[in-house]
Amino acid sequence: MIFSSVQYLIFLPVVVFLYWRLNGLPRLILTVVASYVFYMSWLPIYGVLLALMTVVNWALSIGIENCRTPEQSAEKSSAALQPGQTAADSTAEPSKPKSKPKLVAKYDHPKLAKAMLLVGLLLNVGALCYYKYINFVIENISAAVHAVAPLIPQYKAQLSGLQLPLVEALLPLGISFFVFEFVHYLSDVYKGDKAVRSFFEFAAFAVFFPSQIAGPIKRYQDFIPKLRNPLPLTNPLMIEGTSLFMQGLFKKAALADPIAAIIAKPYATLDPLSCPDAWIAAFGFVIQVYCDFSGYTDMGRGSALLLGIRLPINFDLPLLSTDISVFWRKWHMSLGSWLRDYVYIPLGGSRAGIWNQHRNLFITMVVCGIWHGATWHYILFGATQGIGLIVHREWCRVLEGAPKLKQACASQIGTVLAILFNTVFVVLTYSIFRSPDIPHGLNLWAGAFSFQGAATLIEPLCKSGVLVIGAAYFIFWQTTEYLRHHQSAIDKFIKAPAQKENQAPGQVVFLNPLRLATYTAAAILIVASKPLEAVPFVYFQF
């Protein structure tokens, strides 16, 4: 079941209805059961894997906490899990990733606690590596052995004929995302945050269906209080939830999927590409992946809002970033902050001099690349991002010593040029990301800088209507946002008949005629634009 399927459009209202009819433990159980139904409708056996990993991580976290000194375990070291805290306290603003606290926990049995942490990390990362990287490792070992074989004459025949068997296993859907959450959970508990004592709360954190398959990557300190005290299902919340869901669905079905069909061909060929086609394919993919992934996140966040839970934002108009550093703070934000907290900072962060900082940045982005998949083009993609970040840091240092240049860069023209330059960098590096391998990616680059050839993709692009539908999405997005934030202004002109006469000024009504009209328009445009066959979300494969 995927968010853009008809089944989900039935599943979600049923779950939302039951969720608000229940309270306490039954509601929690419903959340867990619904999430497992959602997950296991794909391949049930991996539901068992997820359940096992949930049980093991929960047990280890309790074990780690029990190893603490009594005073330490009683301390409320994590602000997020204080019993008196309500969801409203933590949900007024979209949660922003915070820097991790230093290790504050003291242990009676430090070695045991550390051992449990290591076991947990090994199990989680091991499961991820097994499913994601085992064949990559085997293939590269085979290649290395075959390359070395001629150098060892006495074993040449054996080594040349060595065929290491590949592992036949499908990648469990969303494994990266729940492994990242488990790693975060165990690490933070080990550092001193309180563990989640309720198994069902932890299970809900692990499998929560709106963020289960492709994030955003949640922080349990942020999520558990919201789960305990969800926001009341008021009109503004329903409006925000449904608007977000519709925006996400629009982006995914009406923009990302048609674009995917248009640009598929240039990425699948090693024949020379014309310059315009290469650029259309490169720009097209960045727009496609943005609409696809941010569309998924919007649908997930919208679904979660209907359950009274505000998930962290994952995208903040990243394609308008002025530099690559800002881009990574606005693109897949939950992954960026996770990498910062659990890779970059443990590596030393920016603490030990500029070169170590550069090294850490590079390693972090290569890890980011490898996370996307066990192939060399993802590693190259990560490396280019790392180099981009390092160059940007150096550029910032140059600017510090040149105030006039800094001033010029901060001007309007400078900002526009910076956005343009950054976008071109992102587009080119993401073309490597999209290509099936490095030669295909380099072929696209060669086309992009050949400065010749005819634009054969213009015609299908225009014929698909995606440009017009893109403009329609912009209007829909702005209208729904305006309706959400300026209800009283709208009420002056279009008052919902259901609105009571004695209603407080500014009180919003869900069934506003204009809002329903925008939903109708969006729904028809989505049906008109979407391809006949559903296209899987890009990030499902990661």
Partner: protein
């Protein structure tokens, strides 16, 4: 409400007005008005957007009391079901532009008749076999040749005959070229269903009687609730792109959804349907059935975890792989046995099929084939009366050459190959030129065959293949007919 009640105790004469909030005092239709108005605005905005984007136009038939359906006129079509093509149906219902009824001097005019395979709405006009033939024949014959494509989706031979009599001869064709597609002969005798492309008159040839062509089923359909409904929304069907989007769903619902049928029936004959509903609702099992249907269509459609597939994935993949390797092995064996053996088998199968069909001449198939032959004779007679040549060709059929799941099954044991054999024999016996455009493809590899077809209809490669089969034989026929 509290404020209103407090006020009511002070101003007794306004009690009623104050206790009942104003919005509930309004009649329901007034309360509904802003919603309807804004929905209309939204729909108009969507229509404009779709028009600008060129999306959502897949409605191309208008109802015709004689033939069943004909092409709409002055209508742009964007076809996305198979392939992707934009077309414009001009005021004469043809895709070709600049066609006048008066034939330009010196032009040899060919009219194509047939169903969707001839119509070729799935591909751009310039990629259709008709347009390719026009260019090639002009080149081969050294004189201007014009090809007018009168193909219409879903047409049977009898519909093609009626269309020819009513429209085609206005254009003074020199040749009528009829494409025979799978099931055409059976469609001369088929009951209408919800899909209007299946709305057809019938033809019947009984021994010692002239062939009967009757539009009775079409006229009956026009009087049915669905016929009336479609006629009542004719303007919407012709002009709305939103309707173009929902048309396919509407047709599907008209076939299978009882609730939808009831709603349509209610709009057409409210009194009758209400009476029927009262009677049905009084029955014991009516509401449980309704509940069961609603459940099945909503919650019941959610895919639950299927434990049947819980065995280790690796094992599943290995099993699939083994199956695939077995299939590959089998395919290889089949390839090895190709050549003479395959040709022999095919010939043998064709003879067997022919024998099978001939043996059942006294049955239903006999009537169908006799009707087909009678229609061919009528075609020949009518075209001769208008000084034009009549030629038949057999179209390639995916169901026969490269079948995929859900394709047309053989009708009463007769497949397209057998139909072609029958039509060919009938043409020979009646001295009608016949070109078998399917035969060459029977030797093609699977890959090549798949490149000829989308799900069922011809791709640009398929259209080119048809033109390849027809150009030289047609040029020869034209030369001989001079």
């Amino acid at each position: 409400m509290t404020t209103n009640l407090a006020a009511a105790t002070v101003e007794t004469d306004k009690e009623v007005e104050l206790i009942v909030p104003r919005e509930f005092k309004q009649p329901w239709f007034k309360r509904l008005l802003p919603y309807i108005a804004w929905q209309v605005v939204a729909l108009l905005a969507v229509e404009a957007t779709l028009a600008f984007a060129g999306l959502g136009e897949e409605e191309l038939f208008q109802l015709d009391p004689e033939i069943g359906t004909v092409h709409m006129t002055n209508k742009s079509i964007t076809w996305r079901k198979e392939g992707y093509a934009r077309s414009y149906l001009h005021s004469n219902g043809l895709r070709e532009s600049g066609i006048t009824e008066a034939k330009p001097a010196g032009v040899y005019r060919i009219v194509l008749l047939g169903d969707s395979q001839v119509e070729g709405i799935q591909v751009a006009l310039e990629d259709t076999a008709g347009q390719l033939l026009e260019k090639r024949l002009t080149k081969i014959l050294g004189r201007p040749v014009q090809v007018l494509n009168f193909g219409v989706s879903g047409y049977s031979t009898v519909q093609e005959f009626l269309l020819m009599k009513r429209e085609v001869f206005k254009y003074s064709p020199d040749m009528v070229l009829m494409g025979y597609d799978s099931r055409d002969m059976f469609e001369n005798w088929s009951a209408p269903d919800a899909a209007i492309s299946n709305l057809r008159p019938y033809a019947l040839k009984l021994p010692k009687q002239p062939v009967l062509v009757d539009s009775g089923p079409v006229k009956a359909f026009m009087k049915s609730p669905r016929g009336k409904f479609l006629n009542s929304i004719a303007w919407l069907r012709a002009n709305s792109r939103i309707w173009g989007l929902i048309s396919a769903y509407e047709t599907e619902a008209s076939s299978h959804n009882e609730a939808y049928k009831a709603i349509i029936g209610f709009f057409i004959s409210p009194v009758k349907v209400t009476k029927q509903f009262r009677e049905d609702a009084a029955k014991k099992d009516y509401w449980p059935n309704v509940g069961a249907q609603i459940f099945k269509a909503t919650i019941g459609s959610i895919q639950m975890p299927n434990w049947q597939y819980t065995k280790p994935v690796a094992a599943v993949k290995v099993a699939v792989k083994q199956d695939l390797s077995k299939e590959a092995e089998e395919a290889q064996k089949q390839t090895d046995l190709a050549g003479k053996q395959a040709a022999f088998d095919k010939r043998k199968a064709a003879l067997e099929e022919q024998a099978k069909v001939e043996a059942s001449n006294k049955t239903f198939i006999g009537v169908i084939t006799n009707t087909m032959e009678a229609l061919l004779q009528e075609f020949k007679k009518e075209t001769a009366n208008h000084n034009c040549k009549f030629v038949v060709y057999a179209l390639p059929s995916r169901a026969t050459l490269a079948p995929i799941a859900g394709m047309d099954q053989p009708m009463l044991g007769v497949n397209h190959g057998s139909e072609v054999v029958i039509v060919k024999r009938q043409c020979q016996e009646n001295e009608i030129p016949f070109i078998d455009a399917q035969r060459a493809a029977t030797t093609y590899s699977d890959e090549k065959l798949n490149s000829l077809f989308y799900t069922a209809h011809l791709t640009p490669s398929g259209q080119k293949y048809v033109a390849d089969q027809l150009d030289v034989p047609l040029a020869e026929i034209i030369r001989q007919s001079k």
